[in-house]
């Protein structure tokens, strides 16, 4: 473990061997976060449903779309977007705020803290799963669609993991990145097909896939809403995972040992 700070492989080995250093604290964080509430993370689901119902009623009229098609499209897009937005926002100040003292004073790999953070957010996100399943039942989904949903969730977790590490890395190094990313995420809400459908762009519809978030959303949304999944989306999500972790590998290799001095 001599090169733990600079080696992605050693850090992955560490989070596997010492899984209790991120898994248990994430469960602890969840418990503390919702301790003083009656419904805990289910509040998120309830507010999402209220927000979604109002939004769907309004926008299905504006866009002249049948509400039955539109409601599922918006709901899946919205909950994934909220999850990714939360991952980005919390990762930005992970080392400069929440775990600053902890990281400065202990021999802990960066991946442990990112995994603890995204695992907490992913558990909150998974509270939407019953509603996703209801959408699938209503859409007469087949067993393969449930399997594809599982694949999509795995890719969402993996992609949010490398995204979180990269955001933490640059968010810690440059204060400007925080302001920049918050602005970009607001823009992302509008340019990602959450409230609108890609078909509305006509011949430019495939352009939405220049936005990586569209891939992360559609790999889950397609089997739930459309009972189909373009194999191309599995491939692109896989490529994003490889590229994402390659960037993490390079960042850790060359600057992993300096992160502690940036805090």
């Amino acid at each position: 473990m001599n090169n733990l700070k600079t080696s992605l492989f050693l850090q992955i080995q560490y989070i596997y061997k010492f899984h209790f250093t991120w898994f248990n604290p994430a469960i602890h964080d969840l418990k503390i976060k919702y301790r003083k509430t009656i419904l805990g993370p289910w509040w998120n689901v309830i507010t999402n449903i209220i927000f979604l119902t109002i939004l769907s009623l309004l926008w299905s009229k504006i866009l002249n779309l049948p509400i039955r098609d539109y409601i599922g499209h918006v709901y899946i897009g919205l909950i994934i977007w909220i999850y990714l937005n939360e991952v980005v926002n919390s990762s930005l100040s992970l080392l400069t705020d929440k775990y600053s003292n902890y990281y400065k004073n202990s021999f802990i790999p960066l991946l442990t803290l990112n995994l603890r953070n995204i695992f907490l957010n992913f558990i909150i996100f998974l509270h939407n799963l019953p509603l996703i399943i209801i959408f699938m039942i209503l859409n007469s989904a087949e067993i393969t669609d449930y399997f594809l949903l599982f694949i999509g969730l795995v890719f969402l977790f993996i992609n949010s993991f490398w995204l979180s590490i990269i955001v933490t890395f640059f968010g810690t190094r440059y204060l400007d990145v925080k302001a920049l990313l918050i602005g970009l995420m607001t823009l992302g809400t509008l340019i990602t097909p959450i409230m609108w459908k890609k078909e509305m762009l006509g011949k430019y519809s495939e352009l939405i896939y220049l936005n990586p978030f569209a891939h992360f959303i559609d790999i889950i949304r397609d089997p739930v809403i459309n009972n189909s999944l373009n194999i191309y989306l599995i491939l692109t999500n896989f490529i994003f995972s490889v590229i994402g972790f390659l960037i993490v590998f390079i960042l850790l290799k060359f600057k992993g040992h300096r992160i502690v001095f940036w805090i």
């Binding site: 001599n2 010492f18 250093t21 248990n24 964080d29 775990y99 400065k104 802990i108």
Partner: protein, 225 residues
């Protein structure tokens, strides 16, 4: 067998660390480099209890953090054989919103101590803290002394191969301090290597058999005591 070897170690960082993209890339000014450790050569073998002494800014904590692999040197090499338990900031990672009992587990996990160990020792730990009913109160309501008691109690049954501490014998009131010191002596005795940074020469003579004096990031004296 625990073993530590530092060869020509240099640790340095920028005095005015620049977190602005504009200043980093477009308005480069000369940045003053602080050399926190300068050409350190050191070997520590099994059964050595090493006290590190020096004034403020002499590099004591940096040396401990380098041995604990928190800091990586820009020059030289650090070789550490044996499992390191470092208590550089004992109250780090305490969750103010959680109660004392929950923080026992959290602190343990964050220090790579498995649940099994805590479950086995929980009664002893709770008894040792002397916090009684306060243990079920949020830590944000604790005094700093109570926080120190809580965090320090978790480590009372550890048997580290390499044990690194930074000035942490000032925990709690006189009675607790006495009890804690007794326990610490036991842990130090069981540990393969003990490294302790302090301003207090009396404490170093009490716990250590070797004394290293640092000044401006350099070892200026290394002697058996």
């Amino acid at each position: 067998m625990a073993f530590i070897k530092l060869s020509n170690v240099e640790v340095s960082f920028n005095a005015d660390f620049n977190k602005s993209i504009r200043r980093r890339f477009f308005n480069k000014s000369e940045v003053k480099k602080i050399v926190a450790l300068n050409n350190i050569n050191l070997e520590i073998s099994e059964n050595e209890k090493v006290g590190i002494i020096g004034g403020n800014g002499s590099g004591k904590t940096t040396l401990l953090k380098t041995i604990a692999k928190i800091y990586e040197p820009i020059n030289g090499s650090v070789q550490v054989e044996g499992k390191v338990s470092s208590l550089i900031d004992i109250t780090m990672g305490l969750d103010e919103e959680a109660n004392g009992y929950e923080n026992i587990y959290l602190t343990a996990w964050q220090n790579i101590i498995p649940t099994k160990y805590i479950k086995k020792n929980i009664k002893k730990i709770i008894e040792f803290t002397e916090l009684k009913n306060s243990l079920y109160r949020n830590v944000k309501t604790y005094s700093s002394g109570m926080k120190m008691r809580l965090a320090s109690s978790i480590f009372i049954n550890l048997k580290p191969e390499i044990f690194i501490c930074d000035e942490f014998f000032s925990v709690g009131d006189a009675n607790f301090k006495k009890k804690f010191e007794k326990k610490m002596k036991d842990i130090i005795k069981k540990s393969g290597i003990f490294i302790f940074a302090s301003h207090n020469i009396k404490e170093i003579h009490k716990y250590c058999n070797r004394k290293i004096t640092l000044s401006k990031g350099k070892i200026i004296n290394d002697e058996r005591i």
